[in-house]
């Protein structure tokens, strides 16, 4: 087991290296005038150095004066010791900005993730138990509609109905206008209220795959021999479903849930942007569109790590949860 994990980790590091190299190459293709702007700004300060000097200094500090490979090595050497440089768009160290925004993303992701699990698994099981019933069709259609909904369109519809027509929620933002005057509990409620629409958007848009996954696996389990045996033994249907079938369905479901745990930190770029939730998604959207190389590099590498971590967790869990699987 340990050998397996170690090997996977080693492969992951290699993959990560190449992913970072590819991303860095693409980022460097950006004819970004960001550094030039920054140099011009600094040069215009009183008593400062000239524009050229600033430009040279900034280019050097970001490794932009070197070729792509040398620049990448420069970036990598800094990144390995945790120094990702200063964000150009936000004027603070990348890691400092990351620390301030990750929590909101995590809260948003965690709430919608829990809601997803609570809704998707029971509905998936109901659908599988009554295959081809009206409930099954309804749940299937619901799941597929969720998968097919463009999140920006769904978010806009929610805003249109609940913010504009009904006036229940603000159009965007994380806190209300009177936030500072509220009591601590009031502040909590205010924040919670501003999270309702983003959470609904995220849950509806991403609930479909888990629901269908649960249904497919439940169907597989229900068709297996041990369920037939259990029924033949004369067990009550309740016990067959809740005890024998459900537990076996949980094996792949837990695996996939474990695998998506790192995703809680990934943020939801589109949804956060639409609702202007100051999470990692919205922040990186701003960084990406303004050509902020240090923050974008950090974010993309962070995302790649999350993906690799998710795969690793899923593989390990698969072996841990299901004793039939041998790690090899």
């Amino acid at each position: 087991m340990r050998k397996f994990v170690m090997r996977r980790l080693a492969i992951s590091v290699v993959i990560l290296f190449f992913v970072a190299l590819i991303i860095y190459t693409i980022m460097r293709c950006m004819p970004s005038s960001f550094v030039e702007n920054m140099a011009r700004e600094k040069a215009s300060l009183p008593g400062g150095k000239s524009y050229r000097e600033w430009l040279a200094q900034l280019n050097e500090s970001y490794g932009l004066d070197k070729g792509i490979v040398a620049g990448f090595v420069h970036w990598l050497r800094q990144a390995v010791v945790g120094n990702f440089g200063d964000s150009w768009a936000f004027n603070v160290p990348v890691t400092a900005k990351f620390k301030t925004v990750i929590f909101d993303s995590f809260v948003l992701g965690a709430i919608s993730f829990i809601l997803q699990i609570l809704i998707a698994i029971p509905l998936g099981i109901v659908a599988a138990r009554k295959q081809y019933s009206k409930a099954d069709y309804a749940i299937s259609v619901f799941a597929l509609v969720g998968i097919s909904l463009p999140s920006f369109f769904f978010a806009t519809i929610l805003k249109y109905i609940f913010s504009i027509k009904l006036g229940w929620f603000d159009l965007f933002g994380m806190i209300g206008r009177m936030y500072e005057q509220l009591s601590p509990f009031g502040k909590f409620l205010d924040r919670a209220q501003h999270l309702v629409l983003p959470v609904v958007t995220l849950v509806i848009v991403s609930i479909g795959s888990l629901m269908r996954y649960t249904r497919t696996n439940m169907l597989e389990v229900l068709n297996s021999d041990y369920i037939r045996t259990a029924r033949a033994k004369g067990l009550s249907e309740k016990r067959v479903i809740n005890y024998h079938a459900f537990r076996n369905t949980l094996i792949p479901v837990v695996t996939i849930i474990g695998g998506s745990l790192p995703g809680l930190f990934a943020g939801a770029m589109i949804t956060e942007t639409l609702f202007q939730i100051e999470g990692i998604g919205y922040t990186s959207y701003q960084a990406l569109t303004t050509g902020d190389i240090p923050f974008s590099m950090f974010y993309l590498v962070f995302m790649a790590i999350l993906t690799l971590l998710g795969n690793l967790i899923a593989d390990i869990l698969y072996a841990v949860v299901d004793p039939r699987v041998r790690v090899n």
Partner: protein, 580 residues
């Protein structure tokens, strides 16, 4: 039972393996049958067919073009004329003369200092005050110089001039009376004194200066200098009738308003000729403002009205509004104007209205559907080709080839796709790539990042398929590897490929729509469902013009849903094990 009967029996009954008895269905037919039994899949198929008809045939049948801009006529309040109480001197130059603008500045100085002459560019002009704010600028041409020595005048004629004794006599009379000018034979001579020198001069008219504005009654009336001078003089002197160049004029003076109407008199006939006042009224456009209109404006300004009604040339009453700003009056009226028909509500002409560029939304939706569907199919085809080739090679050869290809798959799979699309979209923005080329680049980007899933699936399938007996047979037959992979292994993966491809189609359309919505995908002037919805970034559009964004969103939803229904149905149809 007779033999005959027996034979009959045999002939009518069918053998067990007879085709008539057992309808043998080909695997393809079986799948089709199972697929068609699935209601959701059929619905999905219907949706996609309708979408194809809507986008491809609808675009052909649509009466409008993709980027046709519609215009409409609407009455909006526009400036019609401006009126101002004139505070500046107006210059009317005599025929054949020009009063240079440089001299005008000197003139104003001279008026303010109450001087009678001024010099500009070595030319000496004289200023003759004719009345209140009414001057004449002349240039004196000396006829003779007069030197007065102890009461005896000596006259020296200027070269080229004829100095007659009549002039001398008239001068003496005038100088005795202390007058500055005298008339002789219809010519006015002036006595010009400068220091001790006196000269008799004829005046050459240069310009007439006053604050009065002359408005003709008809568009083709041209008022000459002589008339204007005579008219102003008449106003000043309150002379009701005068004659200029053989034409008789009559004046009707309104002292209170400081305005006057002039008529030409021809026998008994009195025709309105001109209106003179100190209010200048100018049309905003090139049209001719009738005198009635001007009088109405003057009246309204006098009475302090903010609006008045007047009939136009066709006798239609039009309401004019007057806005005052200091001494400026703007006369506005509602005018029919051609406008771009933006955000017009759904109507018979535009079933879904028009968008912010005045283009028909329904037509844009059809063309947008084309682009979305074409992008979807092209991307799926490209990524399937890449995925099948690489996945097939990895699965068939195994070993280091497999290892290498699968690591590449891992790397591409690990690249966060959405952020990368955003970066590439911004790069294309920076490079200002042509919108058409952009669509192709977009397809390639989507395909290059989308193939790892397919490659993994193909590899997995082939790994298990290559151990089967028929592959041993192909090897024994000595078929070459490329043929073995692509003729014998890959066709066995087609069912899974179809399912994954159909599902991917929906996903790609969603991604494309999201990118276009963010303004980084398909760009104007090309339509795409995503960039049509982009209009909701303007909250005003989102609130007031539902018809701009809801149909496009629904089309995306329905199309992606259709592909997912089909993909789902296909999976069930190919894999009947899952069903029972």
């Amino acid at each position: 039972m007779t033999k005959q009967d027996k034979n009959d029996n045999i002939s009518t009954s069918v053998a067990l393996d007879d085709e008539q008895r057992v309808r043998v269905l080909s695997p393809g037919m079986l799948v089709t049958k199972r697929f068609l039994r699935n209601r959701l899949a059929v619905v999905g198929l219907a949706i996609i067919l309708v979408m194809f008809v809507f986008s491809f045939i609808g675009g052909l049948l649509a009466p409008y073009g993709e980027t046709q801009v519609f215009r409409k006529y609407d009455s909006i309040e526009k400036d019609y004329a401006g009126a101002a109480i004139n505070v500046d001197y107006q210059y009317t130059d005599a025929e054949g003369e020009t009063f240079p603008s440089l001299a005008k500045a000197q003139l104003i100085l001279a008026i303010n200092n109450e001087e009678t002459s001024f010099v500009s560019k070595d030319v000496t002009y004289s200023l003759i005050k004719e009345g209140n704010e009414f001057y004449r600028v002349v240039q004196f041409e000396d006829v003779a110089k007069v030197v007065n020595l102890r009461g005896i005048n000596r006259f020296t004629p200027v070269e080229g001039e004829t100095f007659t004794p009549e002039i001398e006599a008239a001068y003496l009379v005038a100088s005795e009376a202390g007058e500055e000018s005298f008339d002789l034979d219809g010519i006015t001579y002036y006595v010009v004194k400068s220091g001790t020198n006196t000269s008799i001069a004829r005046a050459k008219e240069i310009s007439m200066i006053s604050k009065m504005i002359f408005n003709p009654y008809t568009a083709d009336t041209v008022m000459d200098y002589d008339f204007k001078y005579a008219a102003e003089k008449a106003m000043n002197d309150k002379v009701e009738a005068f004659e200029v160049n053989g034409v008789n004029y009559e004046m009707q003076l309104d002292e209170e308003d400081n305005s006057a109407v002039f008529y030409t008199v021809n026998g008994d006939e009195k025709v309105e000729y001109a209106l003179v006042s100190n209010v200048s009224i100018n049309a905003a456009g090139n049209e001719f403002l009738s005198i009635d209109f001007k009088e109405a404006v003057l009246n309204a300004i006098d009475n302090g009205d903010t609006s008045f009604v007047m009939a136009d040339n066709n006798g239609v009453d039009i309401e004019y509004n007057i806005n005052r700003k200091n001494n400026q009056y703007t006369i506005r009226r509602f005018t029919e104007t051609e406008l771009i028909d933006v955000y017009s509500s759904p109507s018979k002409v535009h079933p879904l209205g028009t968008d912010g560029n005045g283009m028909d939304i329904l037509t844009r939706l059809m063309y947008g559907g084309r682009i979305s569907l074409v992008i979807g199919f092209v991307v799926v085809i490209i990524e399937t080709i890449i995925g099948v080739v690489l996945g097939g090679l990895a699965g068939y050869f195994g070993g280091w080839v497999d290892n290498l290809i699968m690591r590449v798959v891992d790397i591409v799979y690990c690249i966060p796709s959405m952020p990368l699309y955003l970066i590439l979209g911004s790069i294309m923005d920076f490079l200002k790539i042509d919108p058409k080329a952009r669509i192709f680049v977009l397809m390639i980007i989507l395909a290059v990042l989308g193939w790892p899933g397919i490659a993994r699936m193909v590899r997995g399938q082939i790994l298990s398929l290559r151990e089967q007996d028929f592959m041993v047979a192909t090897e024994a037959l000595g078929i070459r590897p490329s043929r073995r992979i692509f003729r014998h292994l890959v066709p066995n993966v087609i069912p899974q490929l179809t399912v994954i491809g159909t599902m991917n189609l929906g996903g790609i359309i969603l991604t494309e729509a999201t990118l276009s919505y963010l303004g980084l995908g398909v760009k104007y002037p090309y339509a795409s469902w995503g960039n049509i919805i982009n209009a909701v970034n303007d909250i005003y559009v989102m609130t007031n013009y539902w018809f701009v964004w809801i149909p496009a969103g629904l089309l995306i939803l329905i199309t992606v849903l259709g592909f997912n229904f089909i993909g789902d149905g296909l999976r069930d149809a190919f894999d009947p094990k899952m069903k029972r």
